[in-house]
């Protein structure tokens, strides 16, 4: 049965396909293109990554130059600030609260085993203000605002609106990018504080009301181990994240390819690149800040 199906249906069909010269040609071309291509494609990718890094650096220099030169375009700034600040606040607060509660759930079991559940507040709050608050706020911002920025600027590129700006003697980096970068830099610390605050509230609420940990001890240990520097470190990190999200998203939007797919790819590339860079920067800025802290304060503060 199966054999007859193959001989009667597939064989004539494959023969027919093979007899079309163009298809043969295409197949041959594909094989030729793929055979020696592994190294070539690796080099091509490296070449592209190097180009993007160089181009992105130049883009940053242009943003700095235009940012210093003239007064800020208020219209674009206010719109971007509204998008970044006001509209992102609820979602950042909500996710922050859940992360706080999740931390409480996850750490309780481990800490209760060694009888130290009263110190959970220190761990939860330190993790929140140093790591999760800034990273969470930045991730939400990259997803909510970064990809929208890339898509908006990409559409402007595709529909020649960026060329139109230039043709009217308006520099598009000054007009479109600088206000967005300023708005992100100004407002991401606020979002981070919101994520921190809601995380602390969520973590405490779960620990106190559900896990029945004493509130006084919870906050007393927190106060002991979470220093102002920890909060500051989180905020300094968030400035790097905010700048990175705005610059990367605007860059990909600015260099979007034509068509709906080009704009879609720009939005995806903006989010993925921002997210990777956020985590990479989180590591390096974290290490640098710690080094700086221990340089000035060798005794340091330790958890246990």
């Amino acid at each position: 049965m199966l054999r007859t199906l193959i001989t009667e249906v597939f064989t004539p069909w494959t023969e027919k396909m093979a007899s079309i010269p163009d298809l043969q040609k295409t197949r041959k071309n594909v094989e030729v293109a793929h055979a020696p291509s592994f190294l070539t494609s690796v080099f091509q990718q490296l070449d592209r990554v190097t180009f993007v890094i160089g181009d992105l650096t130049l883009f940053v220099f242009q943003i700095i130059a235009w940012g210093c030169r003239l007064k800020l375009r208020q219209g674009t700034f206010v719109k971007a600030a509204y998008q970044i600040g006001v509209l992102s606040l609820p979602v950042v607060g909500l996710t922050g609260m859940f992360i706080g509660m999740v931390l409480a759930v996850q750490s309780f079991f481990q800490f209760s085993q060694i009888g130290m559940e009263s110190r959970m507040g220190a761990v939860i709050n330190l993790t929140l203000v140093r790591e999760l608050g800034p990273v969470l706020a930045a991730t939400m911002l990259a997803g909510r605002v970064g990809s929208a920025m890339a898509a908006e600027l990409g559409t402007m590129r595709v529909t020649e609106q960026i060329d139109a700006l230039k043709s009217m003697g308006v520099n598009p980096i000054h007009f479109l990018v600088v206000p967005r970068v300023f708005a992100a830099l100004l407002l991401i610390p606020v979002l981070t504080l919101m994520a921190d605050f809601m995380g602390i509230v969520g973590g405490f609420a779960y620990s106190h009301y559900i896990l029945h940990i004493d509130a006084h001890q919870y906050f007393d240990f927190s106060r002991q181990y979470v220093t102002g520097f920890d909060l500051l470190a989180g905020i300094i990190k968030s400035l790097f994240f905010g700048g990175c999200i705005a610059v990367v998203s605007c860059y990909f939007g600015f260099h979007s390819n034509r068509g709906a797919q080009g704009v879609g790819n720009a939005a995806t590339a903006a989010f993925v690149t921002s997210f990777v860079l956020i985590l990479v920067m989180d590591l390096f800025v974290g290490i640098s800040l710690d080094k700086l802290y221990y340089y000035f304060n060798p005794a340091g503060a330790s958890l246990f």
Partner: protein, 284 residues
Amino acid sequence: MATAPDTISNTDHTFSQNLVETQKLNMRFGDKQILRDLTVSIRHGQTVAIIGESGCGKTVFLKTLVGLLKPTSGFVLFDQQDLGVLSEPELSRLRSRTGFVFQNSALFDSLTVAENIAFPLLHSSSDSTRTKLSIDDQFQLVKQALREVGMAETTLKQHPADLSGGMRKRVGLARALILQPELVLYDEPTTGLDPIVSDIINELIMRSRLKHRVTSILVTHDMKTARKVADRILMLYPIHRLNEYESQILFDGPPSEIEHCTDPRVQQFIQGEAGSRLRELDIV
């Protein structure tokens, strides 16, 4: 040996009279050459139509004239200033002396029609006295600009997405003309419009020229527009169809002479006949 006067070129080579000039302009995108050794001079007050089939580099040429694209090699001189050596702010100031009407109008879709037309007044780095007027006076200018392109004041508060293609084009035209530029560039001003709206756009281009004595360069493949509006036609041809030493400009002269041009490729274009090209179609 005295050479015969160049009958197909009506450009005046008096240097001071040229508003825009290109010298040995080359443009490449990767391996693909789009423009090759283009040397063109355009005088003050001329209306030049650049014609040619799709992909021959008309729009690229138009964009290099105001520095929206940088040529691979060669020079563009605008009012005797080399665009290649200007800094970005200087280039911006120079661009504010020009108006550009884009193929798809390129109106800012987050702004209303009024804000779009007023945009150059409010934001360009132009030295024009119009940018220094009070907001009320500028609003009057916007209303007047809208009237000039034959649109009702009720559209002022609408967004570009609510307008038809012809209306968007007219708003684009009003925006390009609001600073009274010296040079207006039109990228396919009538493409995709119905014949009546196309003719209205043609009339508007001619009127703007009579009123302000602007220099206009329009890229089009609509022969009707080229014949009606232009006083000089320049025909470009795709590089890949040319021999190595052939000029990319197949025709350069007044519209009345294009009918008598002996080059079959020019005739093929103005008659709109595919002719031998049909053989290139891979019909099995």
